[in-house]
């Protein structure tokens, strides 16, 4: 427990708890979000100050990232607007290699003088550290792209949508929840625009404009007499899209089991809040699960988190090599398992791909934060481990000479390092629907939405909860369950994967807050899948009396 985290955690109300401190920049008026920011030509000149200063001080490589991060958050509870926050964070981060060693410094003074001082600091750090360096940095080659740009393909820029329209939408969702039996509802919209300019001594000047959006709510139902409460959270996903995600298009909705509505690339928040209120009430009297082995039918907005923890993280090369040993941990998926070419990560139906280009995903960018053009690659093919996720300074350690393009820093004042790309499970090739899958299960549980999650530091043993649970008996949903969590081992779990629905059910799960590194940084990432069945998984009952 870090004291500052504790204080933040303890000192905030339920609504504010949904807003992590890392997203806070400085507050600005709404109209200032539309101001254009520094011109690309000026940014190029400023970046060159850093690159030239670094070279003149003996650095063999340097990159500069000028970042302008615009965020807007709207928080409401019940019929009240709690806060509308607009923030802007602007500055430059400079990374250098001197004497074979990394150095990094940042400043929010984006002037020739400020940049020179920060660059000097970065080089001084590199030189001080080079005295204990035993493994000089080796960078994989990268193309010089010249002056290029990339932009998230959005239809509606959140910055151009009036705050009143966003407030109205959240309050309508809250009202729908309250009308349908909720006692409390908190809702929020997180909207992010990263304007990033990257330049390096390898000859690239890359201007990118990246958009992300996340609508959330938490509905609470209370049994006052007993002093009990249950919550149900949104079934939306954070997306790499514009405000068009909030349109609630009928064509993007799917009917799930037991009256659930599931959403693809368009979200109906009012409808979801209506269903959530009814389900939160139902949870108060739902049957407590009997512990034992069940076949699990996992919905994409649930399975995404399991993919994230049990596939995404263990296949990060920096973890495999031990760079994250002091924080997130290492990995069971060791180098020898990759080199063998025969390690069965999952059953034959399991194909897992890494992708930094998928449209609508949180990880999609044109170039990563060290100027590498992004791509898609296999991690697990027909159940066999085929690759890791690696960046320029580590990919040579798996005998490859091209970075995978998954380097990221959460802000201009954080150093970039290897971060998880979108990691997704390919849908089944044969036509197969959720209802057909449920029909085939004798004793099982259908789990939708994200819940509690925990996994060990080498990614063997995990435990996951969910948002809603339904018991399946002889091919039919027979009722809601509570107190459900499943525990398994990564390799055992993925080898128990027997069937995957087809691509008509494929959806993206995502999170804004994948944490890694020291100081800890957050990264946004999506995970796609279709509803998937896993056989004979151990389910525990988490009900307790205190």
């Amino acid at each position: 427990m870090k004291r500052r985290d504790f204080v933040q955690y303890a000192g905030l109300g339920a609504g504010a708890l949904m807003m992590p401190s890392l997203l806070l920049g400085k507050d600005i008026p709404t109209e200032a979000l539309l101001e254009p920011g520094m011109d690309a030509l000026v940014k190029k000149r400023m970046a060159d100050v850093a690159l030239n200063t670094a070279k003149s001080m003996g650095a063999t490589y340097a990159d500069a990232r000028i970042g302008r991060y615009l965020n807007q958050y709207v928080f409401t509870r019940e019929d009240k607007v709690q806060n509308v926050v607009n923030t802007e964070s602007f500055g430059i981060g400079i990374r250098v290699i001197a004497n074979g060693t990394w150095g990094f410094a940042s400043t929010n003074s984006v002037t020739e003088d400020g940049i020179q001082k920060a660059t000097e600091q970065a080089v001084a750090i590199a030189k001080a550290n080079s005295k204990i360096q035993t493994d000089p940095v080796q960078l994989a080659p990268v193309n010089a792209y010249g002056e290029v740009s990339w932009k998230t393909p959005i239809k509606k820029d959140f910055k151009e949508v009036p705050v009143s329209e966003k407030v109205d939408l959240l309050l309508s969702a809250n009202a729908a929840a309250l009308d349908n039996g909720a006692d409390y509802v908190n809702s929020a919209l997180f909207m992010v625009n990263e304007q990033k300019y990257f330049a390096s001594t390898d000859g690239s000047y890359i201007d990118q404009d990246i958009h992300r959006l996340w609508p959330t709510f938490r509905v609470t139902a209370i049994d006052k007499a007993a002093g009990n409460f249950k919550t149900r959270e949104n079934m939306s996903a954070p997306v790499g899209m514009g405000y068009e995600y909030m349109d609630g298009l009928e064509s993007e909705k799917l009917d799930g089991p037991a009256g659930l509505r599931l959403y693809r690339n368009s979200y109906d928040m009012v409808e979801d809040a209506t269903i959530a209120a009814k389900q939160a009430k139902e949870k108060l009297t739902a049957k407590s699960v009997d512990a034992g082995k069940y076949d699990l039918v996992l919905e994409p907005n649930h399975l995404g988190l399991t993919i994230h923890e049990s596939v995404g993280h263990p296949l990060e090369l920096d973890r495999v090599l031990g760079y994250e040993a002091n924080y997130a941990g290492t990995s069971f998926a060791t180098l020898d398992k990759l080199k063998s070419g025969t390690f069965k990560y999952g059953s034959d139906v399991v194909n897992l791909v890494a992708d930094k280009t998928q449209v609508g995903s949180l990880g999609a960018v044109g170039y990563d934060d060290e100027g590498v053009k992004t791509k898609k690659w296999d991690l697990v093919r027909n159940g066999t481990l085929t690759n890791f996720q690696a960046i320029r300074d580590q990919v040579h350690m798996i005998d490859q000479n091209e970075s995978h393009g998954c380097c990221y820093a959460q802000s201009w004042d954080d150093v970039q390092f290897q971060r998880m790309p979108n990691v997704s499970l390919e849908p089944g090739k044969d036509k197969y629907s959720i209802s057909e899958m449920i029909k085939d299960v004798e004793k099982g549980i259908y789990i939708a939405g994200r819940g509690s999650y925990s996994i060990d530091q080498q990614r063997y043993n995990f435990q996951f909860g969910g948002t809603v649970f339904y018991e399946i008996k002889n091919g039919e949903i027979v009722g809601m369950l509570e107190d459900v969590a499943y525990q398994s081992n990564t390799q055992e779990f993925w080898n128990s994967c027997v069937k995957i629905c087809d691509e008509s059910d494929y959806r993206l799960f995502g999170t804004f807050f994948d944490g890694k590194g020291q100081p800890s940084q957050s990264s946004a990432v999506s995970h796609g899948s279709s509803t998937t069945r896993f056989n004979d998984v151990n389910v525990i009952n988490t009900g307790r009396t205190v």
Binding site: N108, D183, E324, F417, Q487, P519
Partner: protein, 438 residues
């Protein structure tokens, strides 16, 4: 960036306030310099330095507020930021929960700043890394660690006459030592306001010893065990209990602190009577600022006394609604301990498990404060007063409330992450499965 003195900060704040035309105005000024070093695979990996300062103005007309921020402090910039906040306030909806700024307050002088910490250099950070890497390499062990230091100040002023100032420093250090055969892992964490209290070599040595001792762990059946939790392990679980101190959530029926029929647990005995927990910004081991961001003075406050809930935190709005005095959230946590050292606790244990730390703790049920997570970096079986052998890591499903009701013995206090937490021996701690992770 300079760490402004009280008078320098006051001068900037008074100047900014002089531009205000709003009904009320509150201005916060803060700045931080921080540096870090990271190492892994027995060599340095990434390091960095950052410097930030900002001034935030909250202007209010009636119940309408606006906030604007700037990082330049010349007169023109100060006037611009005040005008911006006022414009935004005029455009904002009324906040029915708006509270006017506080009037002048009396604050204790804080003791959270150390000049030695503020003067840390890149060379010092490299030495910290070296003092772990060299002994590790000599013992077939690989070091991965992180050291971070920061120095900063914060100050505030408002149109009701309040002025507050504090400067503070902090250091955080963690290191993980793994044996090169991949079967042992040890870890330590140290944090101090004053870096002269920090001994990097001694800390690294402890982690190396744990790594070597924990090699080739045996698997034992999960189940209910007596455990000795080191303060790092206990602290992680207790953190979650403190998240439930908010009176409003309790009164609204959506917290562990809610009771039947709309009541809360204030005055109820919820854990063993030997549990006493308080906060104190002037404790010399864990000093903090003596005021919070709203300008409320922070004083020694009791939270659990003889196992009874003594206070819940009331923000100013909720306190007004309930007709009670506001109680600010704590800035640190101090739990009373006992006299026994870790060695003595082990000596007095017939059968049990020593837990170095817990990892990946997540809420399973907010109603009962049930949490899951795993042991990590040094888990040992104790028999007849001695550590017998290392055991494989466990997953637990446990509530800090159940844990503190199953208290056997409290040991000595240790500073961990800015709090003072004792070693504790707990019976019937629930481990639900085994993990192969080292």
């Amino acid at each position: 960036m300079a760490i402004y003195t009280k008078e320098e900060a006051r001068k900037i704040l008074e100047k900014a306030l002089s531009f205000s035309k709003a009904d009320t105005c509150e201005i916060n000024l803060s700045g931080t310099n921080s540096g870090n070093i990271r190492y892994a695979r027995n060599t340095v990996s990434t390091s960095g330095y950052s410097s930030n300062q900002s001034l935030a103005v909250q202007a209010s007309f009636g119940k309408k507020s606006g906030t604007a921020t700037i990082d330049e402090f010349d007169d023109a910039s100060l006037e611009k930021v005040v005008r911006r906040a006022e414009e935004l306030a005029n455009l904002s909806p009324e906040n029915p929960e708006f509270m006017e700024p506080l009037g002048p307050q009396m604050y204790d002088e804080s003791i959270s700043y150390s000049e030695a910490t503020a003067n840390i250099t890149p060379e010092y950070r490299a030495e910290v890394a070296k003092s772990g890497i060299e002994p590790a390499a000599a013992q077939d062990v690989t070091a991965a660690g992180f050291f971070n230091d920061s120095a900063g100040f914060s100050a505030m002023i408002n149109s009701k006459g309040l002025f507050a100032y504090n400067k503070s420093t902090d250091t955080d250090f963690t290191v993980t030592m793994r044996t090169n055969d991949g079967t042992g892992s040890g870890w330590v964490s140290r944090d101090f306001n004053d870096v002269t209290k920090f001994d990097a070599s001694a800390a690294s040595k402890t982690a190396i010893e744990k790594a070597v001792l924990s090699r080739e762990a045996k698997a034992i059946e999960p189940g209910k065990y007596t455990v000795i939790l080191e303060p790092a392990a206990a602290s992680d679980l207790l953190r979650n209990m403190f998240g439930s101190l908010d009176a409003r959530s309790a009164d609204e029926g959506r917290s562990f602190m809610s009771a039947a029929d709309g009541a809360n647990k204030l005055g109820q005995k919820i854990v063993d009577e030997r549990v006493n927990i308080w906060s104190d910004p002037l404790n010399p081991e864990v000093p903090t600022s003596t005021w919070n961001g709203e300008g409320q003075p922070l004083k020694k406050t009791s939270w659990l006394e003889n196992g009874v809930v003594k206070n819940l935190a009331y923000d100013r709005f909720w306190a007004k609604e309930k007709g009670v005095d506001p109680v600010p959230f704590p800035s640190n946590v101090i739990m009373a301990g006992g006299d026994q050292s870790l060695e003595e606790l082990i000596k007095g244990t017939k059968k049990g498990i020593l837990v170095t730390r817990l990892w990946y703790i997540r809420s399973v049920d907010p109603q009962t404060l049930l949490y899951t997570g795993l042991t990590r970096d040094g888990t040992f079986y104790i028999e007849n007063g001695q550590i017998k052998y290392p055991v494989k890591n466990f997953r637990f499903n446990e509530s800090p409330i159940i844990m503190l009701n199953n208290l056997e013995t409290l040991g000595k206090q240790v500073r961990i992450d800015g709090n003072l937490i004792p070693y504790m021996k707990i019976r019937d701690f629930t481990f639900t499965s085994l993990s192969d992770a080292v």
